[in-house]
C-alpha cells in the first residue's frame, strides 16, 4: 500500500494533496492578488496543472510545484484587476469597547487608510507580511512558499511594517 503514496495520480493521494495545500495556496493568492482576481479559481487552475503533470511530480514535491506555478504567474486567471483587500471589522483584535461616534469615525478613517496602504505595498512585501501577521506563518514557511531565502522574507516583512507605520503616522 505504501507504493500508492508515491503516486500523485492516485485519486486518494491527489485528494489528500488538495486538502493539505489548497487553503494555504488560496490565502497566498488572496493576499497577493486580492479578492477581485478570483483566487479560488486560481487555486483550481494550479491543481489542474498539477493533475496534468501528476506523473512527473512526486507528492512530496507537490507543494513546491503548486507555489511555483502560483508565483511565476503561470495562471491564466490573472485578469489584472485591481488588488482589493477588504477588511471585516468584526475580526479586529480586542480593542476598546467604548465607541463614541467620534471614535467610530476615526476608526473607519484609520481602517480605510490602512486598507489603502496594504493594497499599495509591493506584492512581495504584502504577501510576506500578511502571511506572517494574519496567518501566523513562520519566516521559514513563508520562504518556502515564496521560493526565497529566510533573510529575504524578514527583510520584506520589516520593510512592509515600516511603510505601513509611516503611512499611518504611528497612531
Amino acid at each position: 500500500m505504501n507504493r500508492d503514496l508515491e503516486d500523485s495520480c492516485d485519486e486518494k493521494v491527489f485528494d489528500y494533496l488538495f486538502r493539505i495545500h489548497a487553503t494555504d495556496l488560496f490565502n497566498f493568492l488572496y493576499y497577493k492578488y486580492g479578492e477581485m482576481n478570483n483566487p479560488a479559481d486560481m487555486v483550481q487552475e494550479a491543481f489542474a496543472k498539477l493533475w496534468k503533470k501528476c506523473k512527473d511530480v512526486h507528492p512530496n514535491k507537490a507543494r513546491s510545484f503548486l507555489f511555483t506555478v502560483a508565483n511565476n504567474q503561470l495562471l491564466n486567471e490573472i485578469s489584472k484587476k485591481k488588488t482589493a483587500l477588504k477588511y471585516r471589522s468584526e475580526l479586529k483584535g480586542k480593542e476598546s469597547t467604548l465607541e463614541t461616534p467620534q471614535y467610530a469615525m476615526e476608526e473607519k478613517e484609520y481602517m480605510d487608510k490602512l486598507q489603502n496602504a496594504i493594497e499599495e505595498l509591493p506584492e512581495g512585501q504584502r504577501v510576506a507580511f500578511l502571511l506572517n501577521r494574519i496567518e501566523g506563518k513562520k519566516h521559514q514557511e513563508i520562504a518556502d512558499m515564496l521560493n526565497i531565502s529566510r533573510k529575504a522574507v524578514e527583510k520584506r516583512i520589516y520593510t512592509a511594517l515600516a511603510k505601513l507605520r509611516e503611512k499611518l503616522g504611528d497612531i
Partner: protein, 304 residues
C-alpha cells in the same frame, strides 16, 4: 538586542517568555500593537476545502486508472450493463419532461416554469423539464413558436438547426426542414446555427434557409408576428415553403401540377378562411386552384 531584532523575533514568535514580557512593555510595541491588531481584520475569507475539492472534481475529468485484469471483472461488467439498462428504462418511462404538441390547424399557449409564455403555431412542439429547470433551462423546439420571456429570465431554445439564448425578451423562432429563422421583437436575443452566431435586437432577423445564413437588421416594424393575428406572412421564401405552411394551417393535402415551387414568394394568407387564403397565395403567381374535397386541394400552374 536592537529594536529591529526584537521586532523581527516577535514577528516570528521567537521571543522567550521573559523577552516577550519585556518587549510588550516597551512603547515600541504599543504603537505596533494597534497596527498589528487591525491588520488581522484583513484576513482572507474562509476557504471551503471540501466544496472546492468537489468543484475541482466536477470540472476536471478524472481518468480511470487501468486495472489489473481480474476474472471478477467480466461478471461486474455484466451486472453493470444490466443496471444501466434498468436505469435507462426507468428514466425513459419515468421521465419528468413535458411535451406539448400542436396538430395541423392548431395553436397552443404554454407557460414555462419561470412564467414565460410560449405560443406554438401549427404542427409544432416544445419539450422542457420543469424539475430540472433550476439547473438546466432548456426548451426544445420543433416547428414555430413565439416566445414572450419574463423580464430578466434566461434560458436556451434548442432546435435542429440552431440555438437561441434568451434573456427577458420577445422573439419568434421557426425551425422547419432547411429553414431556421429567429426574429426579435423586443429585447435582445442571441441566435446561432452551425455556421454563425448573431445578437439580435428588436426588429432584427436571423435566417438560415437551405444552409445559407443571413442576418438582417431592421427586418420588420411589427410589434408581434402576424400569425398571432391569424395572418401568416412570408418574405422571400420558396413557394414550396408557403405550401407546406398552408398544409399545416388547414390540415389539408396540397397537390401541385406544373407549379414552380422554387419561386420566391412574398405575401400572406389568412388561416381562418381557406378560399380567401388560396386566392392570396395563388393569384400573385398566376396559379389556379381546385378544391377536390375537404382534405385535398390542387394547384395548377398556368402554362404560358
Amino acid at each position: 538586542m536592537s529594536e529591529e531584532g526584537n521586532i523581527m523575533k516577535w514577528l516570528n514568535g521567537d521571543l522567550s517568555p521573559e523577552e516577550e514580557k519585556e518587549f510588550l512593555k516597551s512603547s515600541e510595541y504599543q504603537s505596533l500593537k494597534s497596527l498589528s491588531d487591525r491588520v488581522i481584520s484583513f484576513k482572507a475569507p474562509k476557504y471551503e476545502v471540501e466544496e472546492e475539492l468537489n468543484r475541482f472534481k466536477d470540472s476536471y475529468s478524472r481518468k480511470q486508472e487501468a486495472r489489473k485484469i481480474n476474472w471478477y471483472v467480466p461478471i461486474f461488467r455484466i451486472a453493470a450493463a444490466v443496471t444501466l439498462i434498468a436505469m435507462v428504462y426507468f428514466t425513459f418511462f419515468k421521465s419528468t419532461g413535458v411535451e406539448i404538441v400542436t396538430n395541423a390547424g392548431e395553436t397552443a399557449e404554454v407557460y414555462l416554469p419561470d412564467s414565460s409564455i410560449v405560443i406554438l403555431n401549427a404542427v409544432s412542439s416544445i419539450k422542457y423539464d420543469p424539475e430540472k429547470w433550476t439547473k438546466a433551462r432548456k426548451v426544445e423546439l420543433e416547428g414555430e413558436a413565439y416566445f414572450k420571456v419574463r423580464s430578466g429570465s434566461k434560458f436556451d431554445v434548442l432546435s435542429d438547426d440552431g440555438t437561441v439564448n434568451v434573456l427577458g425578451t420577445q422573439f419568434n423562432v421557426i425551425s422547419r426542414p432547411n429553414y431556421f429563422e429567429v426574429i426579435c421583437y423586443e429585447g435582445k436575443v442571441a441566435a446561432s446555427s452551425d455556421s454563425d452566431t448573431h445578437t439580435l435586437f428588436a426588429s432584427d432577423a436571423f435566417r438560415s434557409i437551405n444552409g445559407e445564413a443571413n442576418f438582417i437588421s431592421g427586418w420588420h416594424n411589427d410589434k408581434t408576428p402576424s400569425w398571432l393575428n391569424n395572418i401568416i406572412s412570408f418574405e422571400s421564401v420558396q413557394f414550396q415553403y408557403v405550401i407546406d405552411e398552408f398544409e399545416r394551417q388547414y390540415d389539408i393535402d396540397v397537390q401541385v401540377q406544373s407549379v414552380q415551387t422554387q419561386k420566391l414568394f412574398t405575401g400572406s394568407f389568412r388561416n381562418d378562411n381557406m378560399e380567401l387564403a388560396l386566392r392570396s397565395i395563388c393569384i400573385p403567381l398566376k396559379i389556379e386552384f381546385e378544391i377536390i374535397d375537404k382534405r385535398t386541394v390542387i394547384l395548377k400552374g398556368v402554362d404560358k
